[in-house]
């Protein structure tokens, strides 16, 4: 009986160990590998198309990667790809910026620039337009692996969901 229990326990432990290994795929190191491979196949242009069609955005203008330097200070050398556009349905432009950086350090620099942009806009709206200020306060700059994004729009949540589902 004892033998049986030991064998059963061993199986249980082995099973648990296997289970733990599966769960371990969400650990930073392993997840990085998986996310990075998902990101390798990622097309931010497709994400932009998905955002535009899902949210039925009709008036928008693309921002070319070269213009990101003037507008946000993002250097093309820091990007492996990007998809950015402005939406023209409000009193001021809503801004969507998605950048895949070439490496972690570049992602940090891109994030810093977008954080500065968001802070600037929050500051501009603060004593001027309460509604826009509230919206800008809810918006965040997110980093998913090497992908850095800013969705300055009332639909920022949905936009980010579309991006993260494309990454995963």
């Amino acid at each position: 009986m004892k033998k049986l229990c030991v064998i059963a326990l061993t199986f249980v432990l082995l099973f648990c160990a296997c289970g733990k290994n599966d769960a371990g795929s969400s650990s930073p190191g392993n997840s990085g590998t998986q996310t990075e491979s998902a990101i390798e196949a990622l097309s931010l242009a497709n994400v932009q198309e998905e955002i535009i069609s899902s949210l039925k955005i009709t008036e928008y203008t693309d921002i070319s990667p070269e213009r990101l330097l003037d507008l946000y200070g993002i250097d093309t050398a820091d990007m492996s790809q990007s998809a950015s556009f402005t939406i023209m349905s409000g009193a001021y432009p809503y801004e969507v910026v998605m950048v895949q950086a070439v490496d972690k350090a570049a992602a940090g620099r891109v994030s810093e620039k977008l954080q500065a942009r968001l802070a600037d806009l929050q500051n501009q709206y603060k004593d001027y337009d309460a509604e826009s200020y509230k919206m800008a306060q809810e918006c965040t700059v997110d980093t998913d692996g090497l992908v850095v994004s800013l969705f300055l729009s009332p639909d920022h949540g949905k936009m980010h969901e579309i991006l993260t589902s494309a990454i995963s």
Partner: protein, 389 residues
């Protein structure tokens, strides 16, 4: 009855004979080469030996120097000024014995303009003709020499909108048409014309960046920020200050313009500053432009008039309303003339018959009632492209 017919025929013949005789006499007077026995030099008159330039270009317009002042024939001046802001047409009104000038009208040449002057004359005297400029009589020293009227340029230049300067080094007279800051309509500029331009302003100007590239505004820099104003622009850059960002860094407008290397600086301000008072805001504006020019001395300044707000705008106060916006624009137009900057009347693109913002151009009718929609901004871009210097 037959007698009456004979009488009528005789009278007609007499009239015809008289007319023919008169014509022959007149022709004789014209063709007979009477000696011009008046030596103008004996009256202190000479053909001027000074060169004359108009708007920087040499001209061959002749002039008499009469007692140290230059006198020109109106038709010569009309030909010279044709096509400039000072152009005018000439007509004679025999009933009131007046020469009438209509400013702004193109002059139709007669063919005898700019002909050489003689040192002798058949007749000379003060001109008996009155000079009327746009309906108002102008008092000016004028002489009639051999039937042509010569006017003292310094008596008529202001009325004609022309500056007169004497260049001692070159011994020349420099005429220049008075500066009109309002940029006239021109052929549509290629988007690349804006490659060295910077557009500066508040939230009203933010849509312009969506017309960059082939959409019209080329590779211009867009230095705009919501709630940005002249007073913000004059203040220092701090964490909480409102200044535009260029290449990812918040900076002073004059620094961003210099960094861009902009040669054409477009500015639209006013809405966020008129609360300080029209005169004060305009003075701050001039101060800001001088700061820009101190760092970019070659930049051409283009002031865009502030656009109106809806007549029902909720932002309207006793300090900020369409009347004060108009007054502010007029003030800036005045400064443009004084400092030789360019003035673009963007407000005219969007004003309805009451001077308010056209409802179909407004993107925030329910809230502020002053922002222009992205779609309506296309007209603004068209105006910019078709009003260049």
């Amino acid at each position: 009855m037959q007698n009456q017919r004979i009488k009528a025929a005789a009278i007609a013949l007499c009239v015809l004979a008289l007319i023919t005789a008169a014509k022959i006499n007149s022709a004789k007077t014209d063709t007979e080469s009477k000696p011009k026995d008046i030596q103008l030099s004996s009256l202190g008159i000479s053909v001027s030996n000074q060169d004359v330039e108009f708007n920087g270009a040499p001209s061959d317009i002749p002039a008499y120097n009469i007692k140290g002042s230059n006198y020109f024939k109106l038709r010569d001046l009309a030909k010279l000024f044709n096509g400039s802001t000072a152009q005018f047409s000439i007509s004679a009104d025999d009933k009131i014995h007046s020469i009438c000038i209509s400013k702004g009208n193109a002059y139709t040449e007669r063919g005898d303009e700019m002909s050489g002057l003689s040192e002798t004359a058949l007749s000379i005297g003060e001109s008996p003709w009155k000079l009327i400029v746009d309906g108002s009589e102008l008092t000016a020293s004028a002489y009639s020499i051999d039937g042509s009227n010569y006017y003292k340029i310094r008596d008529i230049n202001n009325a004609l909108g022309v500056d007169v300067e004497y260049n001692k080094e070159k011994n020349s007279i420099e005429l220049s048409s008075e500066y009109d800051p309002v940029v006239p309509e021109s052929a549509a500029a290629d988007p690349s014309w804006f490659d060295d331009a910077a557009f500066c302003g508040d939230s009203l100007s933010t849509w312009l960046q969506n017309y960059a590239g082939d959409a019209g505004l080329g590779n211009a820099a867009f230095l705009t920020a919501t709630s940005f104003g002249i007073v913000n622009a004059l203040g220092p850059v701090t964490e909480s200050s409102v200044h535009p960002s260029y290449q990812g860094s918040k900076m002073l407008l004059e620094d961003a313009i210099a960094l861009k290397g902009a040669k054409k600086v477009y500015l639209m301000f006013g809405i966020n500053d008129i609360d300080y008072g029209v005169d004060e805001a305009a003075k701050y504006y001039v101060e800001l432009i001088n700061k820009i020019l101190a760092k970019s001395p070659e930049a051409q300044i283009y002031i865009e008039s502030a656009t109106p707000m809806l007549n029902t705008s909720k932002r309207a106060t006793y300090k900020l309303n369409n009347e004060t916006i108009r007054a502010f624009n007029e003030k800036m137009r005045y400064y443009c003339k004084e400092y030789k900057w360019n003035y673009l009347d963007i407000a005219s693109v969007y004003a309805d018959e009451f001077g308010g913002l056209k409802a179909d151009a407004c993107s925030d009718a329910e809230t502020m009632g002053l922002h222009i929609s992205f779609g309506a901004t296309a007209k603004w871009v068209d105006y910019l492209r078709t009003h260049t210097r």
